[in-house]
Amino acid sequence: MEVGLMQRQWVDYTKSLFLEDFLDSQFIELQKLQDEGNPDFIVEVVSLFFEDSERLLNDLTAAFDQPDVDFQKVDGHVHQLKGSSSSIGAQRVKNVCIAMRSFCEEQNIDGCLRCLQQLKQETCLVKNKLENLFRMEQQIVAAGGSIPSTELIF
């Protein structure tokens, strides 16, 4: 596949991610941070996020498996997930976290469990999306092309 085509595909894919709220402007900020000195910055950060989120989701699942749900603890986990997802720009994940927090306040177990399910789904989704994106980027670079600036897309 020629580079131009790959780049166009990359652009389209990136646009769709933003339009579908998988990512938000914070992701663009992260991309700005990446430079020649740190070419893998985004990949590293995103990887960190998924590691952390997996851990948090496991903790959350375990918390709801308890006979007495410790909502304070649950809230703490959700809060953390909210913080990290918002830091990388994973908007959908963040939104579910916000919804889950209000369920926590109400101590609504059903609501929380639904949100937890959603969190797992959304995290999985955005992970896949980003993996695709990175793969495309790798291919472009491998083909000698450069990755267009996300800012210019919008």
Binding site: Q26, N38, F49, D52, H79, Q80, S86, S87
Partner: protein, 673 residues
């Protein structure tokens, strides 16, 4: 020196920052500043931590990452000068971010920026209260980090300033205030007044400072109009159902906050309580008060009516209202003059009498009668009565004193007196509710003033100063002393308060006021505030005098101030506000503070300042200030809990020896009759 990557956490190789930071490690003032700023970032979230680190590096800062608060603390301790600024997350598993914030502030005195995904007002407020220099909401953008250096510079600047002034800036102000107050007082009364005032100021200064500096709020001057609106709203809602939020809505005044209304409401409630709690008279505030005492001043009657209304209203008035009233009183020379005139006549006489009475018996009535007369002249006839009834004989003397003082002072005097009385009382009481009283008085005063004007005590002109007002305030003030105008009252007491207090207070405040409070005692009665305060002891005073007293106090405050030189007025101010604002404990400080603030509308926060101002400008300035000061109560109230004030007051009252009215303390001479 650490390049920013030292200790512990993952050092990040950043060539540029490193070299720069190395150079700059020691002094930030190189031309590349803020590059090389040594930042310690603490966050348990690895994603955020990495992102922040990268962002900070992009800002050319020397970054050190840390994911545990304890590790961060140990790093900071090991190298006290190793970092310039700390960035910390709020929610961390091992230690609360706020705790870390406090520790760093205490041990290293570094600027700390808090971060969180939580942007709730409460959390942000918590950060502010714990001393965070800033609060960033996650996700943090690099733009927010770029200006991080400003906090470092600001902090250093403050430190230098402190050093230069041999102490904190606040202290400087404080000292200034004190000295000014001292100066002022010396002109009026010397010795004890000054010293006590100074002492009190010094004591209260820290409190005030803490209170005000933490929550500096723009002072709300409760003008008569505003107060009327407030009262109307409260009446509409029903005193029981009147909650600040609804009142605020009803009032629909732009710029008025719920807190303002809340503190005002508190004062007002105290006032009302005082009015109703003291005696049957109270229930009528309006005329019953005045009438019983046969006002020597014909005009009093009319005033009384006003007072009563005011008083009744004041039940719900917050100190602010009172302040407003006072302000009104102060600002309306005509009104005052009438009053002052009345006062003059009465004061002179009453002053003497009350004193005697006070000493002799605790029956306020006796004292009241005399003072009452004085007050009669003043719209707040009730006040004198109240004072007498409510407080102890001491109360009365106060009233009288105030009156006399009022007479002397031109507009301001009344209020000043009022204030000072309050203050003294308040101060004496300490943070007792007395402070509330002063405020109330001021509010009350206002009506009085208008009353006087209407009545025309005679001179509607400014020159006369609402003597009438003074009278009432005095009485109020007397009670007020309990409220502890703290600093203010102290001042006042020095001049007038002390004299007054000694005279009146004895009976009234006894406990606390002893000197200053006495005056406030009078105030207290008129105020509900007082009722909460120890003043309650002097119920009769409260019931009846509450209203009048309040007014009287106000006026007196002003008066006294004029006559005594600002110091008294200051006291009044202070006393007043404080009583209103804080419950009781803070009274002394609060009162002082409040007063100051009121007296000096420009200086809301620092009671001291206010005090100074009032002290400095005994005349006009003070008088005008007082109202402000009084209304400062919201400042106070916000700073201090009204309950505290009241508590203090009450405590003071209890502590004091109600029976002992010692006029001797009061410097009659000072009164300048």
């Amino acid at each position: 020196m650490d390049l920013g990557h030292m200790k512990g956490s993952i050092p990040t190789p950043t060539p540029t920052p490193t070299s720069i930071s190395a150079r700059k490690a020691t002094d930030m003032s190189s031309d590349q500043f803020p590059a090389g700023l040594r930042v310690l970032v603490v966050d348990d979230d690895p994603t955020c931590l990495k992102i922040l680190e990268k962002m900070l590096q992009n800002c050319c800062y020397a970054v050190t990452k840390c994911n545990r608060a304890e590790i961060a603390l140990s790093m900071l301790r090991e190298n006290k000068n190793g970092f310039d600024i700390v960035l910390s997350d709020v929610h961390m598993p091992d230690m609360d971010g706020f705790k870390l914030l406090e520790q760093v502030g205490l041990e290293m005195d570094l600027p700390v920026i808090m971060m969180s995904a939580d942007d709730g007002k409460n959390v942000v407020m918590k950060g502010v209260i714990h001393g965070a220099c800033d609060y960033l909401i996650k996700p943090v953008r690099i733009e927010a980090l770029r200006n991080l250096w400003q906090h470092v510079v600001r902090k250093r600047k403050t430190e230098w300033k402190d050093l230069e002034q041999s102490g904190s800036v606040d202290e400087g102000d404080r000292e200034q205030n004190l000295s000014e107050g001292a100066n002022y007082s010396s002109s009026a009364y010397e010795g004890s007044w000054n010293s006590s005032k100074r002492r009190r100021d010094a004591e209260e200064e820290p409190e005030e400072r803490d209170d005000t500096s933490t929550l500096k709020k723009p002072r709300v001057v409760w003008s008569v109009e505003l107060h009327q609106q407030f009262v109307a709203a409260v009446n509409q809602l029903g005193i029981d159902k009147a909650v600040p939020k609804k009142i605020l809505e009803l009032m629909n005044v732009p710029g008025l906050t719920r807190e303002n209304v809340a503190s005002h409401l508190q004062k007002y409630r105290l006032y009302l309580r005082r009015l109703s709690g003291v005696s049957p008279h109270q229930s009528n505030l309006n005329n019953s008060f005045i009438n019983p005492q046969d006002p020597p001043f014909g005009s009093m009657g009319s005033f009384n009516g006003i007072d009563l209304q005011t008083l009744s209203v004041t039940g719900q008035l917050s100190p602010q209202s009172l302040a407003a009233l006072q302000a009104t009183g102060l600002r309306r020379p005509t009104a005052k003059s009438g009053i002052s005139m009345a006062l003059d006549q009465n004061n002179i006489f009453s002053f003497e009498n009350p004193k005697l009475r006070f000493v002799e018996d605790q029956t306020q009535h006796l004292n009241n009668s005399k003072p009452v007369n004085l007050f009669h002249g003043i719209p707040t006839k009730m006040e004198p009565k109240q004072l007498a009834n409510i407080q102890h004989p001491s109360v009365q003397p106060q009233g009288n004193i105030n009156m006399q003082l009022n007479i002397k002072s031109e507009h301001g005097g009344t209020q000043l007196m009022h204030l000072s009385q309050q203050q003294t009382i308040g101060q004496t009481l300490g943070n007792s509710p007395a402070s509330h009283l002063p405020r109330i008085s001021s509010t009350l005063r206002k009506p009085i003033i208008s009353g006087s004007v209407m009545r025309g005590n005679g001179t509607a002109d400014n020159s006369h100063r609402p003597g009438y007002n003074l009278v009432s305030p005095t009485s109020v003030m007397v009670n007020y002393p309990m409220s502890q105008t703290t600093e203010l009252s102290n001042n006042y007491s020095l001049q007038s308060n002390s004299s007054v207090s000694t005279l009146n207070c004895k009976g009234m405040f006894q406990e606390e006021i002893s000197s200053d409070l006495k005056v406030s005692g009078g105030l207290m009665s008129s105020y509900d505030v007082f009722s909460d305060l120890p003043l309650q002891k002097s119920h009769d005073w409260d019931s009846q005098n509450v209203s009048t007293l309040a007014f009287g106090t106000f006026h007196h405050g002003n008066f006294i101030q004029d006559s005594f030189d600002i110091s008294s007025s200051t006291l009044i101010h202070h006393g007043f506000p404080s009583s209103q604002t804080n419950g009781q404990n803070q009274n002394s400080s609060v009162v002082g503070k409040t007063v100051f603030s009121f007296s000096d509308s420009t200086q809301p926060e620092n009671p001291q300042n206010i005090f100074q101002n009032s002290l400095l400008d005994p005349v006009e300035v003070k008088s005008q200030r007082i109202p402000d000061a009084n209304y400062q109560t919201d400042l106070l109230s916000e700073d201090f809990g009204q309950d505290e004030l009241l508590g203090v007051f009450i405590k003071q009252q209890q502590q004091g020896d109600n029976g002992s009215v010692d006029f001797s303390g009061y410097q009659t001479e000072n009164i300048c009759v």
